[in-house]
């Protein structure tokens, strides 16, 4: 069965610094998609970034970028120039058409931004 693992329950970073959140997944499929979601204290889940497995180029959205290592089944999220508003719970997610498009989430990483 597919699994998504986020090994860091909590992380802290100084404001304006860079932080990387790790995510690994286990799959035997070649066609899938990966996502990072952010959940601030308001509890609204917000899509941060997505990556297609068939694309070698790492996705980037402003200060957010990923390091996608398909062979290693790793999908880390890098946040540059961290801001106080980045403080949230971050979830990594996996979705595949070969598994009825069901989305599987990791357990999340709580990110604290230190002023």
């Amino acid at each position: 069965a597919q699994t998504v693992t986020q090994s860091q329950p909590e992380m802290s970073v100084q404001e304006a610094e860079t932080v990387t959140l790790s995510c690994t997944y286990d799959t035997s499929e070649s066609d899938y998609y990966l996502f990072w979601y952010k959940q601030p204290p308001s509890r609204q889940m917000i899509l941060v970034i997505r990556q297609e497995a068939y694309k070698q180029q790492n996705a980037t959205e402003n200060r957010f970028s990923v390091n996608f290592q398909k062979a290693a089944k790793s999908f880390s999220l890098k946040i540059s120039d961290s801001q106080l508003g980045d403080a949230a719970m971050y979830f990594c997610a996996y979705r595949s058409p070969l598994r009825d498009d069901k989305i599987i989430f990791g357990k999340g990483t709580r990110l604290h931004i230190l002023p």
Partner: protein, 116 residues
């Protein structure tokens, strides 16, 4: 509406009572998910509806939990004989049809359920 709508936003009830939580997905989204999130914790998958297929109920924690989706749109999550451990935020999400794996889920704001 523009997004996924959940109601009520907050529900307080006594132990042993039944509760119904409602989710209105984005129009045209055939996939609908329910999750449970305890305070400060991750998402616990409950149930997944995909079009006309039989729902994936593998995440329902007990037979006190059930869900239905009428007309392929609105979904109701029912918890019977509520227990204190049922206290959590219940999140609903929807996404486009099967075959749209590149599409993300869109989440509602959740229902915060408190069992006294």
């Amino acid at each position: 509406g523009a997004g996924v709508s959940q109601s009520p936003s907050n529900k307080v009830t006594e132990k042993g009572k039944d509760v119904e939580l409602r989710c209105d997905p984005i129009s045209g989204h055939t996939a609908l998910y329910w999750y449970r999130q305890s305070l400060g914790q991750g998402l616990e998958f409950l149930i997944y509806f995909q079009g006309n297929s039989a729902p994936d109920k593998s995440g329902l924690p007990s037979d006190r939990f059930s869900a239905e989706r009428t007309g392929g749109s609105v979904s109701t999550l029912t918890i019977q004989r509520t227990q204190q451990e049922d206290s959590a935020v219940y999140l609903c999400a929807s996404s486009l049809a099967q075959g749209s794996s590149n599409q993300p889920q869109h989440f509602g704001d959740g229902t915060r359920l408190s069992i006294l």
